[in-house]
């Protein structure tokens, strides 16, 4: 059995009887074939982190925020930049080739405080769902899994605080229910596609 089969196989050994009642059918493992290898997963994450880091770099340069807003969003930018660096280093250490930063276009996102924060809110919640959706593909790689989880948690922090800065309802805005919801790769890429103008292979 090849290595990639082992990783994909992680999704197939779940006993059907182990039903997580509250989650029910909501939980969707990464589709079989979503990822070819751990490096594929890391490059998928790297693309999303590049997107986020550049988003905050441009947004924070647009001088739309003040006070606590500005302070928080600078920290969020630093977090995303740290994720980019860490993922790049890890892919290199594993002998892979990090994908290049995509060329991006955020359209009208930087016209006001609200539009900036609203777009950030969308990106962060997308990131949370993307990491959770990809986690099963790293199941056999415990160190990578732990690392991805530790990024995922920080994305959830960002998502909650951006929702709160926008004074969204607590449930369905700041929080997205008692459990996070995973998204499969194709849904995530579809959501990110409008902002990526260059052709990148994910």
């Amino acid at each position: 059995m090849q290595r990639r089969d082992l990783i994909r196989g992680a999704g197939t050994v779940i006993p059907a009887t182990v039903a997580f009642q509250m989650l029910g059918a909501k939980w969707a493992f990464a589709q079989d074939g979503d990822f070819d290898s751990p490096i594929d997963v890391l490059n998928y994450a790297l693309t999303l982190e590049y997107l986020e880091a550049e988003f905050y770099r441009q947004g924070n340069s647009a001088d739309l925020l003040q006070g606590k807003d500005a302070e928080y969003l600078r920290t969020v930018q630093r977090d995303e930049e740290a994720h980019v660096m860490t993922l790049t280093d890890t892919i290199n250490k594993l002998g892979g080739s990090p994908v290049p930063a995509p060329k991006v276009d955020f359209g009208d996102a930087f016209t006001s405080r609200e539009s900036f924060l609203e777009a950030g809110f969308t990106f962060e919640n997308l990131g949370v769902s993307a990491y959770l959706g990809a986690a099963p593909a790293l199941f056999q790689e415990k160190e990578l899994l732990s690392a991805a989880a530790s990024i995922f948690g920080v994305e959830a922090r960002h998502a909650a605080i951006l929702g709160n800065l926008l004074e969204k309802p607590a449930e369905g805005g700041v929080y997205m229910g008692a459990t996070e919801t995973p998204k499969p790769r194709d849904e995530v890429l579809q959501a990110a596609a409008p902002f990526i103008v260059s052709t990148v292979t994910l």
């Binding site: 939980w27 920290t75 530790s150 948690g153 996070e180």
Partner: protein, 221 residues
Amino acid sequence: MILMESPIPAGRRRLLFGGRPVLTFREEASRRNFIKGSALVGVGATFVAYTASDQTAFAQGSGTDLEILNFALTLEFLEAEFYTMALQNNVVSGRERELVTPIRDHEMAHVQAITATVQDLGGTPTEKPMFTFPDGVFTDRAMFLETASMFEELGVTAYHGQVPNIQSPDVLAAAASIAGVESRHAAVIADIMGGNPFPAPFENSRTKDEVLNLAGQFIQS
């Protein structure tokens, strides 16, 4: 973890409740299981009475998914009761209450979900311990928030400590989907109390040595 050292400095650690235990178990076996679980996931010994003889519990190897789930269940029991009592006592109001109310609901949902999962796996859900919360924590807003923050940050650490130990992908999926919500809670509580919702670019988890270091403060001699 191969990616990067934990960015959280040791000096950030705080004493929980001045070192007094807040959990009382009716059954010794439950208490010992919880302490063992604490060691497995790298957090939690701060919550329980801890004696020198419990060192042997820490020496045990990796636990089963059932042990990990029962450890998480105890923490969720703690959080659920904490927020339930806080809201009953109206310790926060306005937008703060609006933000805290779903946290209580989430912790209660986590209790139900983990209980159901333990049962589905053929295990016995751990008993709900008795909680001894310190005076004032449900009447003093600042004290409530400080305590909530410690619980949430420890909860986040606990779930992240479990990630590499979990053996079933399904249990991992459930734990991860809960962990993300605990991160949201931690950030919101930090924001409310004027703290830093983003203390580091990576969530922290604790090693066994760090737990022993923390737990040492609670050894009754």
